[in-house]
């Protein structure tokens, strides 16, 4: 394996240049790390939009990716912190279980899809189907999100500082959606709900985790959730299924 170590690499830091190192070598090395590894800081150069970079991690490490990534970056992540200094392709942090993923640019479709836990922060916009079928992840998008976001979202929170596209929260279960800007339209069974103190406290905790507490006014957000009319089959709802 050719994991190039720059002379200026700090102790415990590993630098990997994907222009010269095969992606499988990088991911293979990351997968081998034990929970008590000393190699806790990894920097990845020249990602060039490659797919599945740092997918399937399960160690308390930090991976800094210096540029745009392709599909499924940090997918299935456990424990690790993955920071993308660029845009992310489809399915960033999809099925994340725990840990932290931070996209410094925009994210494409299905960001945080089906994820069970952890925190995903997107500094820019996320496109369609952000948080689709999310199952416990916290997602904070500083820009806007595209259509069909939080479709069938089951648990977790989706916080959006910008606007939401059409059909937000269609067929929603118990995920909690906070949107500061406009919502183009709500999907089936998604309704605006009262923002009580407990929800303000929940939102504040998510904003704090994203380093945004005090930077945005919590009173500007509106809460959306499930009307719970589609949970069980009812013949009157047949056109909505």
């Amino acid at each position: 394996m050719n994991l190039s170590l720059k002379p200026e690499a700090a102790e415990g830091e590993t630098l990997v240049d994907l222009a010269t190192t095969p992606l499988r070598a990088l991911n293979g090395a990351l997968h081998k790390l034990a929970a008590d590894t000393n190699q806790t800081l990894w920097t990845v150069a020249n990602p060039a939009g490659r797919h599945a970079i740092a997918a399937g991690l399960d160690a308390p490490i930090t991976v800094e990716i210096d540029g745009p990534v392709g599909y499924y970056c940090a997918g299935m992540n456990k424990q690790a912190r993955v920071i993308v200094h660029g845009n992310a392709g489809v399915g960033v942090a999809e099925n994340m279980m725990s840990g932290f993923v931070h996209v410094k640019g925009d994210a494409s479709q299905a960001a945080g899809a089906t994820a069970h836990g952890g925190l995903l922060i997107i500094d820019g916009n996320a496109s369609a189907r952000c948080g689709i079928s999310m199952k416990g992840i916290d997602i904070v998008v500083k820009g806007s999100i595209g259509h069909m976001s939080a479709f069938m979202a089951q648990a977790g929170t989706l916080t959006v500082l910008g606007d939401a596209g059409e059909a937000l929260g269609d067929s929603l279960y118990e995920a909690r959606l906070f949107v500061r800007g406009s919502v183009a339209s709500l999907g089936a069974d998604c309704i605006e709900k009262e923002m009580r103190e407990e929800h303000k406290a929940l939102l504040a905790s998510k904003l704090e985790a994203a380093g945004l507490l005090g930077e945005v006014d919590i009173s500007e957000f509106r809460r959306y959730g499930s009307a719970r009319t589609l949970y069980h089959f009812h013949v009157d709802n047949v056109s909505s299924y």
């Binding site: 060039a48 939009g49 490659r50 797919h51 745009p68 392709g70 599909y71 845009n87 392709g89 489809v90 640019g105 925009d106 494409s108 479709q109 496109s127 369609a128 595209g146 259509h147 069909m148």
Partner: protein, 293 residues
């Protein structure tokens, strides 16, 4: 799954490198569509002349055919380009049909040349020497067939009007109905391919007076299915995604160019990409650039 690449130069600086840039973009999209590939390049044109792109079976003697017709053919593998005075186009087409019925005119226009073949996209690009081509804009496609057979005729781009071409990632569900409408309007769709129907639909709209942008706008209402289209005209370059945005698309714009790709990977090698405005085209929104504007 298919791969699309497109490059529209806003400044003349990169024109000599157009083919080389598109070629490396096409190579990277091989794994989205290894069946076949094709591309259209908008290069130099001569006023009063039309360029006919011909396609023949392997081994076609284009030089001899050019001699017989009276206009030289620049041959590239199974394709050849013949430049004829506009006034003679009809006569030349008739002569071609008579003298070489196995040779088809796959594209025509003042500036467009169109090449496509079955095979790995990287090999197809090499066979046609895409790297050496220059021009103002170009569109390429790598195909993984879904709606019709893997044949050269089923490869993209499709051209159904002068200097017009279209590439498509997706599948249309109402192409049979649209095909019947176009037939009534006198537009011939030569293959069973759904994407050719989309190309012919745009030709039909533009023949009726639509700009490329307006034609794309109308296709939102009339074409049903999954699609990301990239379309070229003599001076323009357009992009449209279906309202659900089923198929991927990413674009990059700099002072010098507008580039399109199915995945960012194909844009990663472009000059100045580090500082380009990279964005995902929104669903059901027509994007359109025109050099004449």
């Amino acid at each position: 799954m298919c791969g699309i690449v497109g490059l529209f130069l806003k400044q003349p600086k990169l024109e000599p490198e157009l083919g080389a840039l598109l070629s490396q973009m096409l190579d990277i999209m091989c794994d989205r569509g290894p069946d076949s590939a094709g591309f259209a390049v908008y290069g130099a044109g001569t006023p009063g002349f039309v360029k006919l792109t011909l396609r023949g079976p392997a081994g076609t003697d284009f030089a001899a055919l050019g001699d017989k017709i009276g206009h030289p053919v620049i041959a590239r593998d199974t394709h050849g380009v013949m430049s004829v005075p506009v006034a003679e186009e009809t006569t030349v087409r008739a002569a071609l049909a008579r003298l070489a019925p196995e040779v088809r005119v796959v594209g025509a226009g003042t500036r467009m040349e169109l090449y496509k073949e079955v095979g790995l996209p990287a090999d197809v690009a090499k066979r046609f020497e895409l790297e050496t081509m220059s021009g103002t804009h170009a569109i390429g496609h790598t195909r993984m067939a879904t709606e019709s057979a893997v044949t050269t005729a089923g490869a993209h781009p499709f051209s159904t009007g002068p200097d017009q071409c279209l590439v498509h990632n997706g599948s249309l569900s109402n192409h049979a109905g649209v095909r019947r409408l176009l037939a009534r309007e006198g537009l011939e769709v030569t293959t069973e391919n759904d994407s050719e129907v989309a190309a012919a639909y745009l030709t039909y709209r533009m023949r009726g007076g639509d700009s490329l942008g307006e034609a794309l706008e109308h296709s939102l209402g009339d074409l049903d299915g999954f699609y990301t289209f990239v379309v070229g005209t003599e001076s323009g370059f357009g992009v449209l995604r279906d309202p659900i945005a089923c198929k991927p698309a990413v674009m990059a714009e700099t002072y010098d160019y507008v580039a399109f790709a199915s995945e960012y990977r194909a844009l990663a090698g472009l000059p100045g990409i580090e500082t380009a405005r990279v964005f995902e085209p929104e669903p059901a929104k027509v994007y359109f650039w025109d050099r004449a504007a």
